[in-house]
Structures are given as C-alpha cells and as structure tokens.
C-alpha cells in the first residue's frame, strides 16, 4: 500500500503548472524559451567554469576566500548580480527582503521568517513519499521546463584548469551542462537551484559527480553564509529532478553552532562527528586528504541511505568545509499533526531556519516549538546508532580496496566515548592511520 500525503508544495518556477495543463501543452513546440529540445538550439547563457582541486597546489583553493572578511569572490558577485537583476525584472513571486525575519531568543538561535506569500493557494498535488528512489517522470514538472530567463548561468569544471567566465556562452547539449536557476519562491535573498547535468533529467538521488559539483559551488562562492542543501524524496523534496538549493543568510545556523562529538576518522582523512544537544541526530563530515575524499565519503553515505530507503537531508556549510548529513524518520511514522502544519522539516528547517506563513505562528515562535517540530523527524537514538554503524561500514567498504586491513578493523570497532571529552578512543584513530599514508608538508 502506498503512503501519500497531501501537501501544498511551493512553486519554484513560473513555469510550474499542474500536470493536467502540462499535458495539453506538451503537444507542439512551446514558444516559452525553455530548456528542452524545442528551445535549446541557439540558446545562450553565461558560463562560469571553476578550477578543479587537483590543479591547485596544496589546499590553497580552499583557504583563499573562506571568511566573511575576504573580498567578495567572483562567483558570489555573479550570482548576486544575476539574482538582483531577476528581482528588478519582476520574476519572483514576492520580495523576500520585505518579509520580516528574526532570530528566536534562546540558546540555539533558531531563525523565523514571516512569509505569507510563499505557499500556493491552489489545490494540493499528490506526491508519493514513502520511496526515496523513484524513477524520473517526464510528465511531471522538471527543470527543463523552466524559462531560460530563470536560469542565471551554467556552472561547470573548466577544461584548461583556469577559472573563466563567458558572459554569453552557447548551451551545448552534448556537453551535458549544469545550471544555476532562481527559485521564484525564495526563502532568502539569493535562493537558487543548482541542477547538475540538467538535460540528462536525473532523478532526485545523490551520485558522486553531482555531489562534488555542489561542493565546488560552495568553495567557489567562498562565503560561509552561502550554504547548499539537499532533500531526498521522502525528506520533503518537492521535485523529482536532481537539484540542490542554496541561498545567503549572514548569520550562523543553529545546526552549525551545535556541539559535536568526534566519532571516527576514515583512512582518507575524512573526520566524522555526530551532533549532540540538537533536536535532530546527524553526522558532520570534515577534512579529507583531498576534496574528492570528503565528497565521496558523503556521497557514499547518501547512496547507502537512498539504497536502503532512508530519507535524508544534507547541508553543505562553511564554504564546503563542513557537511551535515541528517537521516529522517520515514514519513509514515511522523505524526499527522506535524504534516498538517505545512512546515515541512526539510534541510533548511532542520538547520534551524523556519519559514512561517501565519503571523500568529511567527509571533509565537519559540525555541521549544522549533525544537519539538524538528525532534519529530529525527531518528531515534537506537535507530540512529544502527544507521550510523551501517554508514561507516558503507564508507569503509569502498575504501578497503585501497587500504590495508588494519584500517577496516579500526572502522568496525564500536568503542564507547571517553567520559568528559566525548570523543572516541584515540587508539582507534591511531589504527586508522595506515603506513602508506603520505604526510603533507604545510606550505
């Protein structure tokens, strides 16, 4: 028996209509200047190409603009400028900066926004939410149907190892471009969608290449207040076409402030910690000998979760240096009271940013309410321990081909945390470091 919920989705594109209307239109050429075969030939969009990490010595690329005091990076500049341009052209459904917002008093610092215009007043659409992996359905709305004016620029790796910008590059379908588009119902200023390899129409599921692209975007923007988020199906993703979201908010997110306990270090240098004293249980990934190592560790964990039908959200923060992975309860087990509130605990809400549509809710927003709402979707402690252990197995398994057995033994251990320090036995970390590992001399 399939589980369905009736929810009011938010509109992310001005071209997002009900399926019924879409079907009627699908007949001939659309004349809407979209991204499908009808309109792509001859289309031109700005193109930003980034330098891949291995082409840069040391970890210079990561440390260059990693601060709120470094000059605005060019990608940051480009994105904000293009976004403001669409603002002035009236493409957004409302001016998000006119929505009142505040930090809720308390120690966590949850953020609330009063946004009456975000949700549709139309009839809700049905959406199957008990399966994390669902095949792409061309009949439903997807991002190839957006108008080109909603696309800000193409975003891809550069071919010759140089950061480059082309104000007017042809959209080459054969090169499978990735694009950044606006979200016409923004949560905050600069709310965009990163759509990897848009023309391939990938369903909403993580793969290594796409996740790496998202990570590169966080790095290139060089702004710790520009974060990327991902919602799997079943964790309140609204569209089954692979996409990440991002926006700017120059305050710390509660999840970023939450204390963490180190759990393990993988053989490739990726450090995994877990959140504690936070309503939702989750893991934090940091470090890694290379960017790919960090990216792959998270991707592999997500792939494991999606293959096992565990809904999850991912937050890329701190210019790509910290990545949060939060598995969610299956929706069938979430209370109907929560589902009725229409506050969908997706990645932004879980990170501590709530958008409320009623003034009463906004005025009465409190830390306890917010905490309670988020705690609903968290995995229980038991279940989280299970999932955590399985994730480590999944991550180590992919590494074990390269590392010696010393390493995988270490990964499988389940020693209790030391009292007081909250960190797992140091001995385990010693085991983790294999003799084949190279030491990098700091420049």
């Amino acid at each position: 028996m399939m589980l369905r919920i009736k929810r009011v989705p938010t509109v992310v594109s001005n071209y997002q209509k009900d399926e019924g209307e879409d079907a009627a239109r699908r007949g001939g050429g659309c004349g809407r200047n979209c991204l499908q075969k009808c309109c792509i030939p001859g289309a031109k969009l700005p193109l930003y190409t980034f330098k891949r990490a291995e082409e840069i010595p040391g970890d210079k690329c990561v440390l260059e603009h990693d601060d709120n005091q470094a000059p605005v990076a060019f990608l940051d500049s480009l994105l904000l400028g293009q976004w403001e341009d669409r603002m002035q052209r009236g493409l957004f459904r409302y001016d998000v900066t006119a929505c009142e917002t505040k930090v809720i008093p308390g120690r966590c610092g949850f953020m609330a926004q009063l946004n009456e215009g975000r949700h549709l007043k139309k009839r809700p659409t049905e959406f199957r939410v008990d399966k994390v992996l669902q095949p792409f359905d061309g009949n439903k709305f997807n991002f190839t149907k957006v108008g080109q004016e909603e696309v800000l620029f193409q975003f891809d790796a550069s071919e010759d190892g140089e950061v480059q910008f082309f104000p007017d590059a042809p959209v080459d379908a054969d090169s499978s471009p990735s694009v950044v588009a606006i979200n016409v119902s923004p949560i905050e200023y600069g709310h965009v969608l990163l759509i990897p390899r848009i023309l391939e129409c990938l369903p909403q599921r993580i793969d290594r290449e796409s996740f790496l692209l998202a990570l590169y975007m966080a790095i290139e923007a060089g702004n710790p207040y520009f974060r990327l988020g991902y919602n799997s199906l079943g964790a309140f993703a609204t569209i089954n076409h692979l996409h990440f979201q991002a926006y700017y908010l120059a305050v710390p997110f509660p999840i970023e402030k939450a204390p963490t306990r180190k759990v393990t270090t993988l053989g490739d240098g990726v450090k995994i910690s877990e959140l504690f004293d936070y309503p939702v249980r989750g893991l934090v990934f940091e470090g890694g000998n290379t960017l790919q190592d960090l990216s792959n560790a998270v991707s592999d964990a997500c792939i494991f979760l999606q293959d096992n039908n565990i809904p999850h959200n991912v937050l890329i923060a701190d210019c790509g240096k910290r990545i949060f992975l939060l598995p969610q309860q299956a929706l069938g087990e979430v209370s109907s009271e929560l589902l009725d509130t229409q506050v969908n605990p997706a990645v932004w809400e879980i990170s501590g940013h709530m958008v409320l549509k009623r003034k009463k809710d906004y005025e009465e927003a409190s830390e306890e309410n917010a905490w309670r709402l988020l705690a609903e979707v968290s995995l229980s402690e038991e279940r989280f321990e299970e999932v955590k252990a399985l994730i480590f197995e999944a991550c180590s398994y992919t590494l074990s081909e390269k590392e010696d057995e010393h390493l995988t033994q270490g990964a499988g251990d389940d020693k209790p945390p030391l009292e007081g320090t909250g960190s797992i036995n140091k001995g385990r970390n010693c085991n983790m470091v294999s003799g084949t590992q190279e030491c990098l001399v700091l420049q």
Partner: protein
C-alpha cells in the same frame, strides 16, 4: 588579496592613540594583536613582540593581514565560526584554538578577544586579541604502561608518519596525532619552553633511550586533539593581558581626544559587523539613510573615496549633493529624488565632480535596501565611471547589481540578531 595600504593601517592606530601608546604596548610581555574591523579585510594593525615571537613571523608579515593566516587544516571550524560570530556581534569571546606558526607547526592557545568602542562613534573601532599558549601537563598513563612506553609507541607512530626532520617539524595536516612529551618540574617554569618543535630531534629508538636516560632534552610537541582546555592559570593570564592592553589603549586615547572605552556608549549608526560585510565589496558605493534629515551618507566604500578624491570624514554625514556641480543635469537629480520617494530602484547617467573639481560621467544606480524588519533601512548608490572596464567582462549594469545584492544580504542579515540592538 592585496593587503590594505600601510597608510590606512598606520592611521587606524595613530589617529586614536598617542605616540607613546606603541611604546607602552611594546613593554607588555603578553602576546596580543589589535585589529581594525572598519578597514576592508579586518586586518591586524598592531602585533606585540610576544605575539611575533610566539608565531615566528616578523612585524611586516603580520601587520595588514587578517587573523586567519594563523589558521590551518586542523583548526576547529566551529571555533573559527564562534570567533567570526563574536566579531559580527561586536562582543568578546574566549576559546581554545589551534594556530600554526610560520614554520608550519601547530600549537594550542587560549584566544581571548575584547571589543574596543569609540566613544564618539558608538561602535567598535578595534578588537584586541590575546593569545596564551596552552601548556600541556604530563600525559596520563594508559594501559598500565609507563611514560616510557608511551614515548616509544609514539615514536613508532612518528616514524611511520614522517621520514625527515623537516616533515617532523612541519606537522602535516593528515597526521593528527603527535604526542606531548613533557618533563615536569622546573622546566615548566620557563614560559618559553613550551612547544618548540624545531628543537625536536628526529626520533629513533637509540635517541629516545638516551633522552630518557639523560632527560636533558626537552621534547614537546602537541597532540592535536579535538579540544584542549586551558587551565585556570592560563585563563587568568589572558584576563590580565586583556586588561593591560585595554588600560593602555584607553589611557593613550585621552590625549588624542578620540576616546575609546570597553563598553558601547550611545547608539551606533552602522554596526561594525555591517562594516565588515560591506568592507568585502570592492566597488564604489555609498549607503544613505532616508530617515535622517537631509538623507546623509552613513557609509562610503574605499573605492568611492578613491574615485571622488574625498576623505571619509569629509563625506560621512553629508548629503550626496556635494558631488554635483555646475553642469550636472537637474533632471537627473530630479529622477533620483523621485525614485527615492517612490522607494524604487533607478539608473541614471549623471555628471559628477571630484574634490579637485574635475568632472566625470557617473553611471549611477540607486536601490532601496531593507533590513530584517522588512522595511527600508537605507538606499545604496553604486557609482561606475563611464568607460571603466571590468576584468571579468561583466557589464556595468551587472557589476552594479552584484553590489546591490551583496549589500542587501549584509543589511538584512546584520539586523536579524536581537542581541545586536
């Protein structure tokens, strides 16, 4: 990133504190830096002798740079975030932090920072940061082995991890477990004797045994753990140091007439966190406040000052009309005025005049900027000199819009926290 001009750095210090201040600060034994959040990039404007010795850098290598230069791969990101947020909220913070010296070796220190408020401005004009290196106590014994056992097992790890003394000194990012071996007793009385890994010798079994036998060589390197708590003594040192520095600064600001104090005095016009965010934007722009009489400039970027030839104190508080002159088209002015009244954005091409009376065509874009209440807080004016070229190939319009976007994010976010007001 180009460091700010030395002139600005010098001025940051000299305009506030009399000449004797530098001498007085140089007499303090503590490690500390003074930074200016109002200069783009939030650079260090003063570094104490103790600080330079601790970090291994010379004064020239540090003054004008941002504090992040001392961070590295094993520096805890959450701690960096806490410091960043304290700066943004114009308050103090005390936290243990892993920093790196010039030779690449990491060390733990207790970082304590306090804001210095300008009495006239009512906002933060400097931050003072004190760094107290955290000494390691003798290692606890583990698994019933003695200190000897620990040293041997650690040396084995070290040999696995590094193959040369150079690498040993430059502790790698990947290798995160180098142990502390410390001798008790009088050695610890010497403040200078902690954490000098360059004195470490490459370890092999023979050398270790002689080390144990003779116990002559003090060998320390720090375990890079997740956390490293400072002792009460170290915290006391930090408190005293901060107090010393603040006394010097408050005392020597009296003679310049531009008083500083430890607490905010009066309301602030543009918070220092907004200053820091705005300082990241390299283009020419001003913020004006439409709620104040005659709509004065409340912020002007360095690029604006360079473009127009004025000094900051000549433009703050003034209405923008000083930029106009005899040949400025009144209809352009009218258009600007109307847009502000209608609370809308507009672009005009207007003839403006620099301080030296030379004129230039200004592609001016004006836009309302709202804060967290959702209401308009400022108008931003972005100036582009007609004919100037952007190295990235962005059109003037796009360049202006990106400035507007950055400012909108900065103003909205900086006014969200209730604690700021």
């Amino acid at each position: 990133m180009e460091p700010p001009q030395l002139g600005l750095i010098e001025q940051s210090f000299n305009s506030r504190y009399s000449n004797w201040a530098r001498e007085a600060l140089d007499e303090l034994p503590d490690n500390f830096t003074i930074t200016d959040p109002c200069i783009s990039g939030h650079p260090i404007v003063f570094a104490s002798r103790g600080f330079l010795k601790m970090s291994g850098y010379s004064r020239d290598q540090v003054v004008g740079r941002n504090g992040r230069m001392f961070q590295g791969p094993n520096t805890c990101r959450r701690s960096v975030m806490e410091i960043r947020e304290a700066i943004r909220e114009e308050r103090g913070v005390e936290i243990s932090l892993l920093n790196y010296r010039k030779d690449g070796t990491p060390f733990w220190m207790l970082f304590r920072m306090a804001p210095v408020f300008g009495k006239d401005e009512g906002r933060v004009i400097h931050f003072v940061a004190v760094q107290v290196p955290i000494l390691r106590r003798r290692q606890r014994r583990r698994n019933g082995e003695g200190l000897c056992g620990e040293i041997l097992s650690n040396s084995c790890r070290r040999e696995v991890c590094s193959s040369s003394s150079v690498e040993l000194a430059g502790v790698s990012a990947a290798d995160s477990d180098c142990r502390v071996q410390a001798m008790e007793g009088s050695v610890w009385q010497h403040v200078d004797n902690y954490v000098f890994p360059k004195d470490c010798k490459p370890l092999d079994g023979f050398q270790l045994i002689s080390f144990l036998q003779f116990a002559l060589v003090l060998f320390t390197s720090l375990e890079i753990e997740e956390k490293c708590e400072a002792s009460d003594t170290e915290k006391q040192l930090a408190a005293t140091a901060i107090s010393n520095v603040l006394s010097v600064l408050t005392h020597y600001s009296e003679s310049t007439g531009r008083l500083v104090c430890e607490k905010r005095f009066g309301p602030s016009l543009v918070s220092s966190s907004l200053h820091i965010s705005l300082g990241r934007i390299k283009q020419s722009f001003v913020l004006v406040d439409p709620h104040l009489p005659d709509i004065p400039i409340v912020y002007a970027s360095d690029a604006f000052l360079r473009m127009t030839g004025y000094a900051r104190n000549e433009v703050l508080g003034q209405n923008c009309r000083f930029l106009t002159g005899v040949d400025t088209d009144p209809s352009a002015l009218h258009q600007i005025k109307q847009s502000i009244q209608a609370q809308q954005a507009c672009s005009v091409r207007i003839l403006h005049y620099r301080k030296d009376k030379s004129s230039f065509w200004n592609l001016l874009h004006i836009s309302p900027v709202r804060n967290a209440t959702g209401k308009i807080a400022y108008f931003v004016g972005v100036q582009i000199e007609e004919g100037s070229v952007d190295r990235h190939g962005l059109s003037p319009e796009m360049r202006q819009l990106s400035v507007v976007g950055s400012i909108k994010v900065a103003v909205r976010s900086s006014s969200m926290s209730y604690s700021i007001h």
